[in-house]
Structure formats: C-alpha cells, structure tokens
Symmetry: C2
Subunit: 260 residues, 2 copies
DNA sequence: GTAGGTGGTTGCAACATATGCACCAACGGA
DNA sequence: TCCGTTGGTGCATATGTTGCAACCACCTAC
C-alpha cells in the first residue's frame, strides 16, 4: 500500500468537495505545505487537479476518464437510447443502476423536464434499503448474495415509510419478485417517489434496473405506477438486446418471470 | 513532482482504455510486478481502480468524483434544464462547452432521440478549429486570448470542409461574431452537422456555448439553421440567468451584440 | 512608505517509504 | 504429473519523498 498515492487520492477527494487552498490541503493531510504542494503539482500535471482563483479543484482529465470508464460498461450503450426515449415519453427523471462487483451503482441518469434536478449521482452507490432500483435488483439475487446485502443495511428510519427490519425487507423483496417491479414511496426522502423494474442479461440474471423518479408533488406513486407497463416493457426490450430470450424462454433465474 | 503519484495516475489512464492485467500494467510503467501490484492495491483501496475477471479497470469512486466536480461548475445547474428542454424540442443531441482555464471543454451533453450516440465526451476538450461550440467561443475572445488558441491549432484538413488556415479561421470568426452563431458543416466528420451560439456571464463575457448536433443524413446544416432562433434565445436566457443584462444593456463585450 | 503576516514555492539533507528480489501459490496446457 | 506463466507476499535496501529553512509575492495595517 502506497502512502504517497493514498495522500494524492485523499487530495482529490478533498478538493472535489469544494475548491481548497494549499494550506487547507496540507492541514487535511497533516503534512508540510511543501509536501502538499508537490503532490498537487503532480496531480495538476496529470490533469487530475487544477487551480481556479488560487484554489485547487478537480481537474478535467479525471472527468474525461470517468466518462471513458462509463462508456466501457457493456450495458450502457445498449440501454441509453431506451432511457432517453422513456424519459421523453414520461417527462420524469430516469435512472439506470447496475450490479457491479458487490455493489449497486447508478450508471446513467436522464433528467426529466422539470427544473429541479434529483440529488442522485452517476458513480454513487444505491441505497438498497430504500431505492426502487436497489430493491428491484435485490429481489432477484440468489439467497447468499441477497443476504450479504441485507446484512450491510442499517434499517434506519429515514422517513415514516422506510422499511426498518430485515424481515420486512425480505417480505417486500418477495412481493417485488412476484409482481416484477419495485417502488420507493418516499422511503428515503418523503417528497420523492419512484418505480423500477429489473434488467436481465443473456442468462436471465438480473444485472441492472431502470427507474422513473419524480417529486411526490408532481407525480404521487399511484401516478408513477401508471408508467409500469411502459417501464417493464422497456426493461424487457433492453434485456432482449442483451441476449435474454424472454419470459417464456429458457428459465435460469431463481424467481418468477418478469410480468407486471 | 512525485514519481509514485505519476505512476498511479498513468495506471488510471492505462486501465481506462480497457481492462488490463497486472503484467500489462507493470510492463506499461516499466516497473516490477510487485510495484505495480502495490500501486494498484492502493488505487483499489481508494476506489479509483477495481478488478473485473482478474483484470484491472477504473473504479467507480472516480466516476462519482467526476460527477461531483461537474456539479460544482456554476454554469451547469443553471444551464442544464435549458439543455434538456432544447433537446426535447428538437430531438437532436445538445452540448454545452465551457471556457475553463485556457481550454474549451464539453461539460454537458443531452442525447437526442436517435439510437446513435455522438462520440463527444464530457470532460474532453473541444476542437476549436472545427467545432461549432469552439468557434462560437473563440469569436468573442479578446484578441490576445484568441490568438493563443489560433497558434495551437494544426489547421489539418479533417474533411473537405475543414478550415485550413489562420486567415480563413479569423474571417469565419469575424462572421460568427457578426451574426451571433457558429456552425460545423462536416468540418471534422463529414457526416455530422452542428450549430452553436454563445453564452455570456454577468459581465457580458462569452464563457460557454451551446450546440445542436445531428447526423447530416438526419438533419443537413440548412435544417439545423432552422433551430437557430430557438437556440440563440435559449443561450440568451441562460446568459440572463447568469446575470447578463441583455443585448441592449451595458456593453462590455468586445464585439457586436448577439442576434441571429 | 514600511513592517508584519500569510500563502505559495524551492533547494537540500535526512530518513521513511517504495522498490525489486526471491520465493510461493494457483492455474492451465502439454 | 510437470512446467511455464501469472498473481501475489515478506523483507532488506536503495531511493524518492519529506520537512526544514529560507525566499518571494501580496495584502493589510499603521
């Protein structure tokens, strides 16, 4: 493990919060200003940091590399046109989350027509306790994988609607698997509602989920449920593009077929 | 300058191209496998690298930090709702490029309805010789700044439509400043057409540009010119949101007012 | 106009860390 | 079963990183 590289990465994290002075960076790392300066100079040289008005912030090369990394995900080019059209038809924010390694991560977001932008961010992990996409993926995991996720959940009562015990979440995941879609009815932020459906790969494994999200004031969850036929059909189409034979094809998934 | 940090950043660049084995990374850097491994372990620990099928690729923490960095640009939250609506009205890909430091960089992209995705990438620099957004910004720079850009241009003939001399580019920039909009009529890739207009800050300085891009087969440049009233009005609205008093307000820009 | 404080920066010697070596484990092909 | 390749680790040491002292620029107060 390299201490010097760790320091450099901590600098990137620190300046990503907001632009920082050299002294702030040195203080944050607990090193001499000259040490911080040399690390920052190296990050600048590589495009990972830049200065704006005498303060250090994240460099644009990092941004370009992030886009390059996202472009490498096989799912994204397949799914993206569907997301854009789905968002266009409904006017709400659309998310794609993917199961990567042992995490569920937002990998795409298509903003809705409203001026307000959702706080979700590409690259960030999903909250599997509350988010519709998280639950839509968990519902179809094999038992061992799902239990690993359930173990890591805090079951915090973010809002009055939050699911606050493993038993209750297991029951909800069983319902989701049965009906083929998930929802977040203000479980994390009580003014946000969301519905989601799973995306399958060629082997029928659920590897991602797509959601439609809105402010409750704009679209209560009952109204978002009206999008479900379109949403589940869109997810089926993405799945077919990934090689999935369809709900009546060879069964490899552990749970019931995807039907609204 | 830190050699160790430089190596770590080179690793990130290298694995962003495509997933790489430990041996490939060691070979690329010219170091022992154990050195490469420790650097990779540190990057993984920080979320900047991860392994997929025994190969190293970019980590998702980098992706999240990149989004965080983009979210910090003052312009983006202001402009983004306009871009989404503009794209929605015209159905074509919309880009926002911003003048940052001494570069013009794509900072947002809203995909059009077609299945094909443009090769442009958020975080990458703009080609100021050929791109409509690049020319839309250059046209309004002060003479010294503009000449610095012009000096760095290669004037390569990418297509038959490319501008291939500084004189010809200066003349085109003067026309752009006169009429208030720019276009790319297949100057970089002959099957892509584009129109762009500038965005001003509170002092009337041009700091960004918005473009509408399409495949020539879908929308020849004559058809895209039909979007110009809407595009220039959108850019004026973004500019007013940034504090610009408007074309009839106090004049601080070096060239004529923005009107189609 | 000058002094003092602050922040950015550099040269250099000390030393703490990064490094390569030797070795091990796992895997796949012959 | 054997051999080659690749991923990975412990450790001694070579070297690159580090903090110190000093410098410079800028800003503010007197």
């Amino acid at each position: 493990m390299s201490q010097t590289v760790q320091r450099a990465l901590r600098i990137i994290e620190f300046v990503a919060e907001r632009p920082r002075s050299l002294g702030e960076v040195a203080g944050h790392l607990g090193v001499h200003r000259s040490t911080a300066l040399r690390l920052l100079q190296t990050l600048q040289d590589g495009g990972f940091a830049r200065t704006v008005g005498g303060r250090y912030t994240v460099g644009l090369r990092l941004v370009a590399l992030a886009q390059q990394a996202l472009d490498q995900l096989d799912l994204l080019p397949v799914a993206h046109p569907y997301l854009v059209r789905l968002g266009d038809r409904h006017g709400h924010t659309v998310h794609l989350a993917q199961l990567l390694d042992d995490e569920i991560v937002y990998v795409a977001k298509v903003d809705g027509r409203g001026a307000l932008r959702m706080g979700s961010r590409v690259g960030r992990t999903v909250n599997p306790q509350t988010s519709a996409v998280g639950k839509a993926i968990l519902a179809y995991l094999d038992d061992a994988s799902r239990e690993r996720f359930l173990e890591r959940i805090t079951y915090r009562a973010y809002t009055a609607s939050s699911i606050t015990s493993p038993e209750a979440l297991r029951a909800e995941l069983a319902r989701i698997a049965e009906r083929g879609w998930a929802e977040d009815d203000g479980e994390f932020e009580d003014f946000v509602t969301c519905v989601a459906a799973p995306v399958r790969d060629a082997r029928g494994q659920v590897v991602a989920a797509v959601s439609i999200t809105a402010l409750r004031a704009v679209a209560p969850v009952e109204r978002l449920r009206g999008c479900l036929p379109d949403l589940t059909e869109t997810c089926a189409a993405i799945s077919r593009d990934l090689g999935w034979p369809g709900a009546d094809g060879p069964r490899t998934g552990s749970r019931g077929a995807n039907r609204p």
